[in-house]
Subunit: 249 residues, 2 copies
């Protein structure tokens, strides 16, 4: 196992940071690494907003939960789907590209491009012994987030990636059984096998929480998922995304 | 600059492979690295189909372009948004979770989760000196791809990641100017500045192609984007994704 794979397998989300800045050079390197990721048909349909302003960080922390560790992190990167750039391309080239720009296909490309770039940024940060955490919570209120960050039409903040010098290292959370996620030459759709895999995983997760919380918590993965999805969170998203001129057709 | 960052910055897509297999252990490690990526609220809304069967590889290569290098790669990973698993969770927990499962929010989570996992897989493969290439071309015909890979309801193949031993190393393609992608504390929306950045980038790209093709090709990035987006590709996607029981509300 090489050093890169060791680093990748050692990942855990960090939610507690030292009061110590990251350097401009570190930020620049992280962004360059993000940009080095593959992009669908060279389209580069994403942008990154770096947030260092303490007031803005505090506002984002509040909107995302509140999640105070957003405020206490050394730097916040907000990854956005960006097809505003392609509106400007249309103008520069004297073309009407709106049907493509508003398509579900290009919206998916934007989500994928942004996430590939973000994971490069995450690994780059971790390679410098910084801790990272993804913050999907900014999607709680994209109206407010967009206002704080001056986000134009055709740009959608997807998630934040916060970085900083780790204070406490959390435990690694066990993932789904490999056989449930990885299928050979075709999807393994036998429902009985599927349920058995999830039951085995439930036992793993239940003992993980039991051990970690000294018996206070023993919920299974399927219980946790039923509760999470039962909440119907962020149901405004369809209308919001379409209002941004994305994924309309 | 550490070894991991060097590797990330040295990325280029590889479309020409030696006729030499990858090992089962390499495949397993790559999948484990994919699984180590962050996942939104622990939801793990993706699956990976590994394709080694030569007939299926040939069929995917044909559908994706044709792109013969898909067939000639050592292994194909197809990354999918997967909320089928959460249908089974609903059944196991006796809950109706369909509103969430069918939401735009959870579809975005699936796209993000799948892409974060894929980029970990890509870096893991590159760390073993394998070459990688993302294949968005499988989205040309998801009806056929889904049939070949036995894809159930609520699962959507997003892209493939092909790996193999590189034969030729291509040149790195220059990315958008950092200042056009990375914005500090708010989106830089001044249109004049934006256009100047894209004009400068156009010159970079035009000389890049000129040099690489010995004068045969000199197109700019904005021309290329206008042509790509002018084609209105994959406009069936909205209907197809919604037909899969995803992103319906």
């Amino acid at each position: 196992m090489n050093q890169i794979i060791e680093k990748i397998l050692d990942h855990r989300s960090i939610r507690s940071f030292e009061d110590k800045p990251v350097t401009e050079e570190q930020i620049r390197t992280i962004v360059e690494c993000a940009q080095a990721a593959s992009t669908s048909s060279y389209i580069q349909a994403y942008s990154i907003i770096g947030v260092s302003n303490p007031e803005k960080k505090a506002q984002l922390a509040e909107l995302a939960g509140p999640q105070t560790y957003v405020e206490k992190s050394a730097h916040v990167f907000v990854f956005c789907v960006d097809l505003h750039r392609h509106d400007i391309v249309a103008e520069m080239e004297g073309r009407d590209l709106s049907e493509s720009i508003e398509s579900t296909e290009q919206f998916m490309v934007g989500c994928i491009d942004a996430a590939l770039a973000a994971q490069n940024a995450a690994i780059a940060a971790e390679s410098m012994d910084l801790g990272i955490c993804y913050i999907g919570g900014i999607r709680n209120n994209l109206h407010a987030v967009s206002e704080i960050l001056n986000i134009p039409h055709r740009v959608l903040p997807l998630f934040a990636l916060i970085i900083g010098h780790p204070k406490n290292r959390s435990e690694k959370k066990p993932r789904l059984p490999l056989a449930n996620v990885y299928h050979e030459n075709g999807y393994q759709a036998d429902q009985q096998v599927f349920i058995e895999q999830l039951q085995a995983y439930n036992e793993t997760i239940s003992s993980y929480y039991d051990r970690r919380t000294k018996g206070k918590r023993k919920d299974t993965w399927t219980e946790q998922m039923a509760n999470t999805l039962g909440k119907k969170s962020r149901m405004y998203m369809k209308e919001y995304v379409e209002g941004k001129g994305l994924k309309k057709r």
